[in-house]
């Protein structure tokens, strides 16, 4: 289970975790989030910290509030996909730069990756 560590701002860690749950589909568009207090208890942190994390996500449009019912994941699948692409881009770029350090050119790295994919299949 996810548990924030003490070395960086806890609200950012929580926001990041929820964001990745949304992108991975674990939290589907329109899904309702648990209440702040419940989340706080589950994560063993202070309700104010959860509040701050959710506010952060809401600001970026990933969550929205229905006044009486609580917080929900956005229906804007376009936004979710664009964030997913950002993640993918980051991972790909860091892969390529790591391969480069090992002496692979971009083409060689891509070749290597597709061969690896071939083996797996």
């Amino acid at each position: 289970m996810f548990s924030p560590d003490n070395n960086s701002p806890i609200y950012l860690q929580i926001a990041e975790k929820i964001k990745s749950d949304i992108v991975s589909g674990e939290l589907s568009p329109g899904a309702r989030l648990p209440s702040v207090r419940d989340l706080a208890l589950k994560l063993k942190v202070n309700p104010n910290t959860v509040q701050k994390a959710l506010a952060e996500l809401e600001m970026r449009g990933l969550l929205f509030t229905e006044r009486t019912n609580g917080k929900f994941v956005t229906h804007d699948t376009g936004l979710i996909i664009s964030i997913k692409n950002d993640y993918a881009k980051n991972i790909a770029e860091s892969f390529l730069s790591s391969m480069e350090k090992l002496g692979f050119s971009n083409d060689e790295a891509i070749n290597y990756l597709s061969n690896l994919g071939g083996e797996k299949n």
């Binding site: 560590d5 070395n7 960086s8 806890i10 208890l41 063993k44 942190v45 202070n46 309700p47 104010n48």
Partner: protein, 231 residues
């Protein structure tokens, strides 16, 4: 209005200056850690807020008013020692609390006792120190208070129980209330703090939002505390 406002507070015992011109204000609804090594003035400050010590100078305002009957009704205080009449049974103590505190919830107390594995018929003098601490915590959390002040709630508790105690605190204080926790054991507790106040040799040397401090120092509060007070 602030939950607690402390203005130029000083206190000496004989020639020993324990608090030196301290000023501090605590916003409502925050969970604040009062952090410092033992004997640096944490308990003295807390005792002045609770009217157990009389300051030499300066003042404490609770919701804008001096310490008195009203502030005592607002504050639910967990002292670092057993303050209960040892001759009473648990049940009797609960009756005592509900007699005096209008905001005490007896049924919640009974539920908490059950959760904490305490026997309502038992005499306090027959309980172990750990059980007495748990009982006091249950009583303190059963009050619908505006401010909870917990003096070393993890002091005498073994590490395995610490998480459990913290969870009990988190899930039971009144929503929206202010919580002040004094401790010298920081690693277990820092995840629940909004703000920290470092107190050293009777002076406040740092107050900050917890997450801001983490990101500006790039370290855990525990580590920052150790760095600051390296001995």
């Amino acid at each position: 209005m602030k939950a607690i406002e402390i203005k130029n507070l000083s206190k000496s015992f004989g020639k020993k200056k324990v608090l030196n011109d301290i000023s501090l204000s605590i916003d409502r609804g925050r969970i604040v850690g009062l952090l410092g090594k033992n004997g640096m003035g944490k308990s003295t400050l807390i005792k002045i807020i609770n009217d157990l010590l009389t300051p030499d100078s300066g003042e404490v305002l609770v919701y804008g008013k001096s310490v008195g009957v009203e502030s005592k009704l607002r504050i639910s205080y967990l002292p670092e020692r057993c303050a209960l009449d040892k001759g009473m049974t648990v049940k009797k103590v609960i009756k005592f609390y509900s007699d005096f505190y209008g905001n005490f919830d007896s049924s919640k107390a009974m539920k908490l006792l059950h959760d904490l594995d305490l026997d309502a018929e038992q005499k306090i003098s027959k309980m172990s120190k750990g059980m007495q601490e748990k009982l006091q915590l249950a009583l303190v959390l059963s009050r619908e208070a505006d401010i909870y002040i917990l003096d070393e709630p993890l002091g005498g508790v073994d590490p395995a129980t610490r998480d459990y105690i913290l969870d009990t605190i988190l899930s039971n204080f009144k929503e929206g209330a202010t919580v002040i926790i004094s401790t010298h054991i920081i690693s277990d507790i820092e995840r629940i703090l909004d703000n920290v106040v470092f107190i050293h040799k009777g002076e406040i040397i740092l107050t900050s939002d917890t997450d801001e401090l983490r990101s500006s120092e790039n370290a855990s509060i525990d580590e920052i505390f150790r760095r600051t007070f390296r001995c």
